[in-house]
C-alpha cells in the first residue's frame, strides 16, 4: 500500500516546532527515496552515510523551513549537497560514467510506420497513485525494472520524478546537457509506462 502522507500546514508546523513524532513520520516516508538518489550519486557503499548526514542537517534546518518547495524536494536537495561535499572531500566529481542512451525507446514499437498508434495504450483501471500501487505484484515488477534500468536513466528518474529536483539543477549537478537529460528521462519513463500498460492488459508483468 502507498502510505497516505499529508504534508498539510499543521504537519509542517509540527516539524518546525520540533515535534519528534512528526519527524519520525517524515523519515519513514522519505528515507528510501533519498537513499536511491544518494546511491546514484556516490554509490551503494557511501549512500547510507550521506543520507544519515543529510537527515542531521535537515533536522537542524527544519525550524527555518519556509515551505517554498515540497518537503521531498527540500530533502533531496540536502542529500545532493551532502553527496557533493562527500565527493569533493575525496576529490571526486559527480558524473555519469556512461552517458550513452542504451536500448530503444520502450514505446517505439507501439507505433506504425504512418506515425499512428499500432498498439494504443490500454485503459488503466486506476485513477490515483494509491490505487495504482496497491497491487503488490505490480510494485514488485516496478522495483525490479528500476533495479535493472541503466544507472543514468534511473538517476534521472529518481532526481526529477521522485525527488522533484528541477531540470537546471539536475544538469548542473551531473554536468550533462538539458537535451541529454531529457532523452534519458524520457527513456526511463517509457520503460515504466510500458510495464504498467502491459500489467493493466494482462494482470502480469
Amino acid at each position: 500500500m502507498v502510505a497516505a502522507f499529508d504534508e498539510d500546514a499543521s504537519f509542517v508546523a509540527a516539524l518546525r516546532e520540533g515535534d519528534q513524532h512528526a519527524f519520525s513520520q517524515l523519515v519513514r516516508h522519505h528515507h528510501r527515496a533519498l537513499l536511491a538518489v544518494a546511491r546514484g550519486l556516490v554509490g551503494e557503499s557511501e549512500a547510507e552515510e550521506v543520507v544519515q548526514l543529510a537527515w542531521i542537517k535537515a533536522h537542524r534546518a527544519l525550524p527555518t523551513f519556509e515551505g517554498r518547495s515540497a518537503l521531498r524536494t527540500w530533502l533531496s536537495r540536502i542529500v545532493i549537497n551532502e553527496a557533493r561535499m562527500q565527493l569533493r572531500s575525496r576529490r571526486r566529481e559527480v558524473f555519469l560514467e556512461d552517458l550513452a542512451v542504451e536500448g530503444d525507446d520502450a514505446l517505439a514499437d507501439r507505433f506504425a510506420a504512418s506515425g499512428h498508434w499500432a498498439q494504443p495504450p490500454h485503459r488503466w483501471q486506476e485513477d490515483s497513485p494509491e490505487a495504482l500501487l496497491t497491487a503488490e505484484q505490480l510494485r514488485d515488477c516496478l522495483e525490479r525494472l528500476m533495479r535493472e534500468m541503466p544507472d543514468n536513466q534511473r538517476l534521472l528518474l529518481e532526481m526529477r520524478d521522485a525527488g522533484g529536483i528541477d531540470f537546471d539543477e539536475i544538469c548542473n549537478t551531473l554536468s550533462i546537457s538539458a537535451s541529454n537529460a531529457r532523452v534519458l528521462l524520457h527513456r526511463a519513463r517509457s520503460r515504466l509506462f510500458r510495464l504498467v500498460d502491459h500489467y493493466e492488459e494482462t494482470g502480469e508483468c
Partner: protein, 79 residues
C-alpha cells in the same frame, strides 16, 4: 501535423513547461482529435504522480537509526 509517435516526447515537454505556443497549440489540437493520445497523456500524468511513492515507507529499524543519529547530534550540540 503532429503524429501520435511524437506525442510522448511532446507531452513530457508540455508537462515540463518547455513547449512554445505553436508546439503547445499543435499538441492541443492533436489531443482534441485523438482519444488514444488523450489516454496516453492522462495515464502518463498518473504514472508520474506515482513515482514518488515507488520506494515505499522505511522500516522501523531504518527510522530508529536516523532518529538515534539525530539525537546524538543534538546532544553533542547542547554540551
Amino acid at each position: 501535423m503532429l503524429k501520435c509517435r511524437q506525442v510522448p516526447e511532446q507531452a513530457e515537454k508540455l508537462l515540463a513547461g518547455d513547449l512554445g505556443w505553436r508546439e503547445r497549440l499543435s499538441l492541443r489540437m492533436h489531443l482534441l482529435i485523438c482519444g488514444y493520445c488523450r489516454r496516453y497523456m492522462r495515464q502518463l500524468k498518473l504514472l508520474l504522480r506515482s513515482v514518488p511513492f515507488l520506494h515505499g515507507p522505511a522500516s522501523d529499524d531504518e527510522v530508529d537509526k536516523v532518529i538515534t543519529r539525530v539525537q546524538c547530534d543534538r546532544e553533542s550540540h547542547h554540551h
